[in-house]
Symmetry: C2
């Protein structure tokens, strides 16, 4: 049977998903997870004010969301002390990364990232025919010098750099990041993914410079603000780069309820401070559980902790499998030597209890 | 200053929006609209069960939505009597149209639509470098024969056909649509946009045939189900076409609250029946107001009525401006001779009162 042919590029792509979702794992396993600590969601939830705003907005959902996300965009601009045309709101950082790939990447365009860094970025780049060049982590951190060197070598159009990093939780301070920004080739755009920035130590984010066309900063309501399911991310950048999103974005793509929730969440900075404290305490709790089991928690500036299991990837994968079998949803890095670790998201006291009970069993089963 | 260059295609695109949103018009006008009758939203709102489900889901929004939209997809499959791999859930029909353009359209690919039909489809096709070929409406309806002839002539990869049609509200019956489906060239995909199908007379939608790779049906929760702001659309089609979405879609793009709301809305078919009755009554109300003012309401199978103002586009534009000035958000067709009409969405009794008061004034100001 003849059928309408896909474009050659689309035809060449696998029908793949960057991550299998926890619900799919639950369906495969036949039971719901007891603890959901694998996707770096915020178990502490969003601000009660954000929840209230979303509940109110539910009755109004017969109306399309404002395609300009005007109120949210202006509030973000005021919050960050930039102009509103330096802000683009989109369907999560994932959605915005897809738009950036579409804007800057064609067949064979060189793009640089770290081996083992965010797979969804790679998915989008491959989806537009880009050629990915990867550099290794260095001491479990993304390596700015290696990323820049590879970008110069390949004539890359985009560099992806997450600070703090996922999946390791590691980070560079603002001075190091600013040094990297200053060294980006002039025909290249540095995508600085700061999804976890609200949870990082002061002095992690360099000052926002909206005059620089060679860097764009990615932020989200999914992590610190606890609204992963609402799909609200935003980009901060030089106005002409920001304006380019208007050429291709799904203008009416934002959920009206999510817009309302994000606006309320942004207005509740006190709640965000509470979350920072809870996340810090939970990181410490995970670290203690790891140490109690003879493992090494790596320092983290995020809402998760990479726990070095002390052996190779095969061993860590066995530990992970042991936790999954006991009903704990956890993930781990894909690439050696970072895959010697498992990645555990911060959780409630109940989650931590389950982890404390399950980890020794998983370790002894893996040994 | 050198800057990272966009791809040649992206560089060539304008930073445009297919529609200016009502909120932007309100901001420009300095006052909120008294009646929102321009975007074919459902003023009657979603099912109370859907609202309750969304309110419940607001507290759970710290979790990402299921990237497979498993429960909703399976419920839709059961509802329509098809397999779940014949269903793709996405971020509104707009989002799914963008994905289809990306899958099937490259530089210069021929695509056929009607002059004056849905602009967002054209936006997506242009955004991937496609060459749009347009045929005129015939008797205020999209013209299947002309669309097919143009597709054969140009070797088109995609045909866009909305049934019922927006902006005219006109429709073809299932027999005519099936005849069109049967005549689609074998290397061409007919995108049959059935956004308003729940509001159309019985016998408008042809039977679903999921074995045919040359047609894909687009449905939504935005219109009959009253959830435009939630951004939930879906495609029904042959499994290999549906599977192609997985190559490129934003897998974690669905709002978790919206997924929950759509599932509950689908389960409340009684409410949908009530909406059908309310929409029919409101159509009749709009038609009567039009007739009372010496205008001609066109037959409609949707939640809006195109009202023929009896003169040319310039006159209708003046009438529209007069309604906007009086605080009524209304839109109109873009292309002659359909632009002799204004398009009025169904509304509440209060909306209809405002319309009844405002229309005579707008008409006398326009004359």
């Amino acid at each position: 049977m003849k059928r309408p042919p896909l474009t050659p590029l689309a035809d060449s792509l696998p029908a793949s998903v960057p991550f299998v979702g926890p619900e799919a794992l639950e369906r495969a396993g036949g039971a719901p997870f007891k603890a959901r600590l694998g996707a770096n969601e915020s178990v502490f939830g969003p601000s009660p004010k954000a929840i209230a705003a979303m509940k109110d907005a539910a009755s109004e959902v017969w109306q399309y969301g404002d395609p300009e996300s005007h109120d949210l965009r202006h509030a973000l601009a005021a919050h960050h002390g930039v102009a509103h045309d330096n802000v683009m709101v989109g369907e999560g950082i994932d959605g915005l990364l897809g738009y950036l790939a579409r804007l800057f990447v064609g067949q064979g365009t060189a793009v640089v990232t770290s081996a083992g860094a965010y797979p969804t970025f790679n998915y989008h780049v491959a989806g537009f025919g880009g050629q990915l060049h990867m550099v290794p982590y260095r001491d479990d951190r993304e390596d700015p010098d290696a990323l820049l060197a590879k970008a110069r070598e390949t004539g890359a159009r985009l560099i992806y750099f997450a600070n703090p990093d996922n999946p390791m939780g590691s980070w560079h301070d603002a001075v190091a990041v600013q040094r990297m920004i200053d060294a980006v080739p002039e025909d290249c755009l540095l995508i600085l993914d700061e999804a976890y920035i609200e949870l990082s130590p002061d002095g992690t984010a360099p000052a926002l410079d909206m005059s620089n066309p060679n860097v764009i900063r990615m932020r989200t309501f999914s992590k610190g603000h606890g609204m992963a399911g609402a799909r609200v991310g935003y980009a901060l950048g030089e106005a002409e780069n920001i304006n380019a999103f208007h050429k291709i974005r799904n203008h009416f793509g934002m959920c009206r309820i999510s817009q309302a929730g994000a606006l309320a969440a942004l207005g509740d900075q006190d709640y965000l401070s509470e979350i920072r404290a809870k996340v810090a305490a939970s990181r410490e709790r995970i670290a203690n559980i790891a140490r109690d089991n003879g493992l090494t928690p790596l320092p983290s500036a995020t809402n998760f902790v990479a726990v070095d299991c002390g052996k190779d990837g095969d061993f860590a994968r066995k530990v992970l499998a042991g936790l999954l079998e006991q009903g704990l949803f956890v993930r781990m890095p894909f690439v050696a030597p970072q895959d010697r670790a498992i990645r555990i998201s911060c959780g409630t006291e109940q989650d931590m209890k389950l982890l404390g009970d399950a980890l020794p069993k998983a370790l002894s089963a893996a040994s």
